[in-house]
């Protein structure tokens, strides 16, 4: 990051904290509704010291990783079949577009009925929330492959699964990576949302506990953690992969 961009960012966040502290000091709202930044930091420190925060992060991340992995594997396979087999596209493809429009949180009642209040239920919500974004992007990616790649590969003897792993997936990868990124965003929303309703460990659960205890600073503290993880994954993990892929594939 360029120094002046960094300075702008730091200044901006410092300003938010100052305004926040100012609002708190003005005593417009009572502290149990509007906590000060110090309260929130204390809460974060407390959560960190007794380990509950890290346990919550770990639990949510694990569910996210399992759910997202299922979504990426399933979505990739489905997307490739939709792109390569017209009948699959005409039948399952139309359903995928419909299912994509269901918010992941709307799967929660079904997940509870099917899996009970278990980890599997939360993972189901996470995976199903992400899978269709992966599917659609993979589909688009495979459809947009330069046909000469496929012809050259076939010409050199590639077919079936060899063609899929050695050509279709790498050639569609720039699109697939956007699908993974979208999938991750949906999965992250899905996992937190599901944890709120399942109330069974994780960051969403900690949010709910904060609400039940009327502890606003805990609620805000957990929200900041959720946002922080989001920024980290989006801005560091995916950005790096994307940059590398874009350069390698000659897209910039």
């Amino acid at each position: 990051m360029k120094p002046n961009v960094l300075a702008k960012k730091l200044g901006f966040y410092a300003m938010i904290i100052i305004v926040w502290q100012g609002l708190d000091s003005s005593d417009i709202w009572p502290d149990n509704i509007f906590p000060s930044p110090v309260d929130v930091v204390e809460d974060l420190a407390y959560g960190a010291s007794d380990g509950s925060l890290f346990y919550g992060i770990g639990t949510s991340m694990l569910r996210l990783i399992v759910g997202l992995t299922i979504a990426i594997v399933g979505g990739t396979i489905l997307g490739i079949f939709m792109a390569r087999v017209e009948t699959v596209n005409q039948t399952i493809g139309s359903l995928v577009l419909g299912l994509q429009s269901i918010p992941s949180i709307a799967w929660v009642p079904l997940a509870i009925l099917w899996f009970g209040l278990t980890d599997s239920g939360i993972i189901f919500v996470t995976a199903i929330g992400a899978i269709f974004a992966v599917t659609i992007n993979t589909y688009t990616g495979v459809k947009n492959i330069d046909p000469s790649y496929i012809e050259a590969a076939r010409n050199m003897g590639a077919k079936g699964s060899q063609l899929i792993t050695s050509i279709l997936i790498p050639a569609a990868f720039p699109y697939m990576i956007s699908g993974f990124k979208q999938g991750w965003a949906f999965a992250w929303r899905g996992v937190i949302g599901a944890e709120l309703l399942f109330s069974f460990l994780g960051l969403g659960f900690l949010l709910n506990v904060g609400r039940q205890l009327n502890d606003v600073s805990q609620v805000i503290a957990v929200m900041i953690v959720i946002m922080g993880i989001g920024i980290l994954v989006d801005g560091v993990v995916f950005k790096r992969i994307e940059n590398k892929v874009m350069t390698r594939w000659g897209l910039r």
């Binding site: 012809e151 076939r154 050199m156 003897g157 050695s166 050639a171 390698r248 594939w249 000659g250």
Partner: protein
């Protein structure tokens, strides 16, 4: 019997819902080790003909025989060099060149040994770990040729491989192509719209007519190799280029 034989190849394309005849019964016999060039007006179906030989498209009529055996699909015995190279951007130069060998299940050491030989032949050794975005168009085409040669095909098919190159690079590759052909003794079928290119490279040049294409005329090019652009325009050599252009011009105007 030739190395490769085309018998009465016909091909239709759909145009505004109606079938449009593109190839009108192409009969052809290619001898082993021949460097056959095909020229024709754009859109005449010369590339389609090459793709049919490669097995990338099916003819609506007729058949292709290799060593007397009819062919039905693609195969590593006929490898194509595409106009834009069709190199895989996610692989480096060496892995691109080894792609077909890897698909064939050849172990890594053996692959490296073969690819190193052809990388050397195409003067690509120092670019082995480069990616395609780091290469010039001419370099890319060298990689594409190396990738085809490692497969040791019976017939090398080249679909306007030098069309996107600048004049200097093309001249260089025209010289190298003759050396490669003499060194490897491959049977080559080379499609181009550039008459000079065809005369420099070919032992024989076929002129395709406007669609529906037939073989309008063929020329044996009785000039010694290696040939240069100067040679084919020399005062002492027969003016093949002019004769071929005379055949081609009315077809282009159609």
């Amino acid at each position: 019997m030739g190395k490769l034989e085309a018998r009465n190849i016909e091909k239709y394309f759909k145009h505004d819902g109606k079938p449009l005849k593109t190839l009108d019964g192409i009969d052809l016999n290619v001898q082993d080790g021949e460097f056959l060039c095909i020229v024709g007006p754009s859109g005449c179906g010369k590339s389609t003909f090459l793709r049919i030989i490669a097995g990338l498209e099916k003819p609506d009529n007729g058949e292709i025989l290799l060593d007397g055996k009819p062919l039905s699909s693609t195969g590593p015995d006929r490898i194509m060099v595409f106009q834009e190279g069709a190199l895989f951007p996610w692989l480096n130069v060496q892995d691109n060149v080894e792609y077909g060998l890897k698909i064939a299940g050849i172990p890594k050491e053996k692959r490296n040994e073969i690819s190193n030989r052809y990388l050397d032949m195409m003067q690509l050794t120092q670019f082995a770990t480069s990616f395609t975005y780091q290469l010039s168009t001419g370099m890319k085409q060298r990689v594409a040729i190396a990738r085809a040669l490692v497969m040791d095909p019976d017939v090398l098919l080249m679909d306007e491989p030098f069309a996107a190159l600048d004049a200097q690079t093309r001249d260089l590759l025209l010289v190298e192509m003759q050396l490669i052909w003499q060194k490897t003794k491959k049977t080559i079928i080379f499609v181009t719209h550039n008459v000079a290119e065809a005369v420099i490279l070919g032992t024989r040049v076929l002129v395709f007519s406007h669609r529906p294409a037939i073989i309008k005329k063929e020329f044996e090019i009785a000039l010694p190799y290696p040939r240069t652009a100067e040679d084919i325009h020399g005062k002492n050599s027969p003016s093949y280029s002019l004769e071929i252009l005379a055949e081609l011009r009315p077809e282009v105007k159609k």
